[in-house]
């Protein structure tokens, strides 16, 4: 065999020109010789092929026995993953649902599979799962599943740096969420759309979209709709670097939305990021504490705990960082590969910021082992880059560039700190 690979140089075909579910293998590009990644991509492919075949209708309706045989063969392969592996459980659940052969079960299974891939950083696989769900949902008019698929596709495309497609999906999600009066999805879709537009250099477009959203929602929900709009504007302004405007919008969102609204945790994380860039550490910490206590989603709570530690390192407070690291390491022990890798990356960053290079190296190596063991898609290159920065003593990129805070920003910081205290006390 030739020492170089001629096939590697070929441009990947569009989804419509490749065989069904091939898209999942694009997550291997550039790393196709890593056996764990390759094995897991193949498992996702097997599962997707079961889902897509089970979804076939009309003339393409397959024999149920044959689908059952295909599902059993895929289950057998999935069972090769280590016991307790999150991906093994997720794929196995997908296959169980697919064997029900009902459109709702298949769409739900595809959405579950997509969410798992997205979490593990396999963007192309997530896209293929969500596209499968979308297709089934559109064919059988499953509005709830269609809404979730559109939102997820928008998020996945945005994260992969494809703002054009992200915008298309998210605009559809916003329109459908309005029509269905699903304010939870509307808030998420609007926030994603605003951030996508800001990232694509069109913050004005994002502001217009946020201002126009929710027009069809009854007046009785006006406060909540205004809160969702404000949350979107907050994320957009922070992403665009207009920090004080972001804080004002964030404060408005917190005032209008209930603390139980899942979107509030995202607003607090956005606002905390702005506070850090304004050098307002206490306000940022207050927001992180609030998210740690109250966020419904584990990912958000974990992100807040990690940043709560890193912000101490960033402020040059090694004692606080080490104290918080201890808590985080206790939490890491019960996490799966993804959670453990995420925590170790955060601790590696923090240790680099306080020039504790041995600890930083140790955390990053643990992160690398966890990421490789769990076959994570996007974490490995990030960790390798951090390790390379560490060896070059190039931690400047990690340091936040602080802009002096204005009186207005300080006043909002004081309000957030008080809300954080009240909210923490109420939990």
């Amino acid at each position: 065999m030739a020492r170089y690979d001629r096939i590697a140089r070929i441009e990947p075909p569009p989804r419509s020109h490749a065989f069904p579910a091939w898209l999942v293998f694009r997550d291997l590009e550039g790393r196709e010789r890593e056996p764990e990644l390759s094995r897991r991509a193949r498992l996702r492919f097997l599962v997707l092929r079961c889902l897509q075949r089970a979804a076939g209708g009309g003339e393409r309706r397959p024999e149920p026995d044959s689908v059952a045989q295909q599902v059993a063969a895929a289950q057998h392969r999935v069972a090769d993953l280590p016991a307790g592996d999150r991906e093994r459980e997720a794929l196995s659940r997908c296959l169980d649902r697919a064997s029900a052969l009902t459109p709702v079960a298949i769409a739900d299974a595809a959405l579950t599979g997509g969410a798992g891939c997205e979490r593990n950083g396999h963007g192309h696989a997530a896209e293929e799962f969500h596209l499968t769900a979308l297709q089934v949902a559109e064919t059988h008019d499953l509005r709830e599943q269609r809404l979730v698929a559109l939102l997820s596709l928008g998020r996945v495309c945005g994260a992969r740096g494809d703002p054009g497609r992200a915008r298309t999906y998210l605009e559809s999600a916003v329109a459908l969420a309005e029509a269905e009066r699903d304010l939870g999805v509307l808030g998420d879709a609007l926030r994603e759309l605003a951030v996508t537009l800001a990232g694509a250099g069109d913050p004005e477009g994002g502001r217009s979209v946020a201002a126009a959203a929710g027009g069809g929602i009854p007046k009785a929900y006006q406060d909540r709709v205004d809160g969702l709009r404000a949350a979107a504007v907050c994320a957009l302004e922070v992403a665009a670097g207009r920090l004080e405007a972001g804080l004002q919008a964030g404060w408005r969102a917190v005032e209008l939305l209930s603390f139980r609204d899942p979107l509030v945790s995202r607003v607090l994380l956005d606002v905390a990021s702005a506070f850090r860039r304004l050098g307002l550490r206490e306000a940022a910490e207050s927001c992180y504490r609030a998210v740690t206590r109250s966020a419904a989603r584990e990912e958000l709570r974990r992100a807040a705990r990690i940043e709560y530690a890193v912000v101490a390192a960033e402020a040059g407070d090694p004692a606080a960082f080490r104290e918080r690291r201890k808590t985080l390491l206790e939490a890491a022990a019960s996490e799966d590969g993804h959670g453990a890798a995420t925590i170790q990356i955060g601790l590696g960053r923090g240790a680099m910021l306080i020039d504790d290079l041995d600890d930083a190296r140790s955390h990053l190596r643990l992160a690398l082992a966890a990421a490789r063991g769990a076959g994570l898609g996007d974490a490995v290159p990030v960790i390798e880059e951090l390790l390379s920065d560490l060896e070059r003593r190039a931690d400047r990129a990690l340091r936040v560039v602080v802009t002096p805070a204005t009186d207005g920003a300080r006043s909002i910081a004081a309000r957030f700190a008080s809300v954080g205290r009240e909210q923490v006390a109420s939990v």
């Binding site: 001629r6 096939i7 065989f19 492919f45 295909q70």
Partner: protein, 261 residues
């Protein structure tokens, strides 16, 4: 009954393909080179190949070369395929795959073979004919089309339709189709031009596959039916021109078209 060219060295794989595609004929290739020659020589509609058929050869690269030479001939890749193999196969232009854990699933393999042996030209002809003739006539043309690669003649067509040659002639007239002989002539030309869209095929090889004594005889047939020489017709536009000419050559049956709708 379509002709499939297969490169499957293992007996178990051959049996699995045979069980999944009982209605098709199979021509067995000994190696990748032989597979290429088979497709060039015979009226093959699809290819099934074990990626690891030849030790030491990069099967994916062979698939890539094949799909460049025969872009309209589906290639179904078979065997123990890793994630890396599958990534590369998608780039190389494989039409679909059958993984080792799927081979025992006869229903699944049959579906993949059916997809690969689907006739896109027959669909295109049928779509155009829907505007000029009724459903019975379209059914006859589809049946004739599927048997062109097998070298169907008028008596075979009549017999497979369950009627005598003279009855078939009368029906063609009633249904607004050309005579059976002309119908088969047109279909041979259309299939010939369709195959000639593939760079790996020559006028000589396609002429022989269609039952002409030589490439020159095939050229003459094209000149008589479509007009002009085949080489300028070796593109998508040439095939569309020939399709238009075929539809124009059908007398048509407006009443049956109305009924068919």
């Amino acid at each position: 009954m379509a002709l499939i060219a297969a490169l499957l060295p293992k007996e178990a794989d051959r049996l699995a393909l045979g069980a999944a595609a009982p209605g098709h004929r199979t021509a067995w290739a000994r190696n990748w080179r032989d597979l290429d020659q088979l497709v060039k020589r015979e009226p093959v509609v699809a290819v099934v190949a074990d990626l690891h058929a030849e030790r030491g050869k990069d099967g994916v690269l062979r698939v890539y070369r094949f799909s460049r030479r025969y872009p309209l001939t589906p290639i179904l890749v078979w065997g123990h395929l890793t994630g890396r193999d599958l990534l590369r196969l998608g780039k190389a232009g494989a039409t679909d795959v059958v993984l080792d854990e799927e081979m025992a699933n006869v229903g699944l393999v049959a579906e993949r073979v059916a997809d690969a042996t689907g006739d896109s030209l027959a669909d295109e002809v049928d779509r155009r004919l829907a505007a000029v003739v009724g459903p019975e006539a379209r059914e006859l043309v589809r049946l004739a089309g599927t048997r062109i690669p097998a070298g169907v003649q008028v008596p075979d067509l009549a017999s497979s339709h369950g009627v005598s040659v003279s009855t078939l002639e009368r029906r063609c007239e009633q249904w607004g189709l050309p005579t059976p002989g002309h119908l088969l002539l047109w279909l041979r030309i259309l299939y010939g031009l369709h195959w000639l869209l593939e760079p790996g095929r020559s006028v000589e090889s396609v002429g022989r596959q269609l039952g002409y004594s030589s490439g020159a005889a095939f050229r003459r047939a094209i000149k008589v039916t479509v007009g002009g020489r085949p080489t300028p017709l070796r593109n998508r536009q040439g095939l569309l021109t020939a399709l238009d000419a075929f539809i124009a050559a059908c007398p048509g049956d407006p009443a049956a078209v109305g009924e068919g709708r």
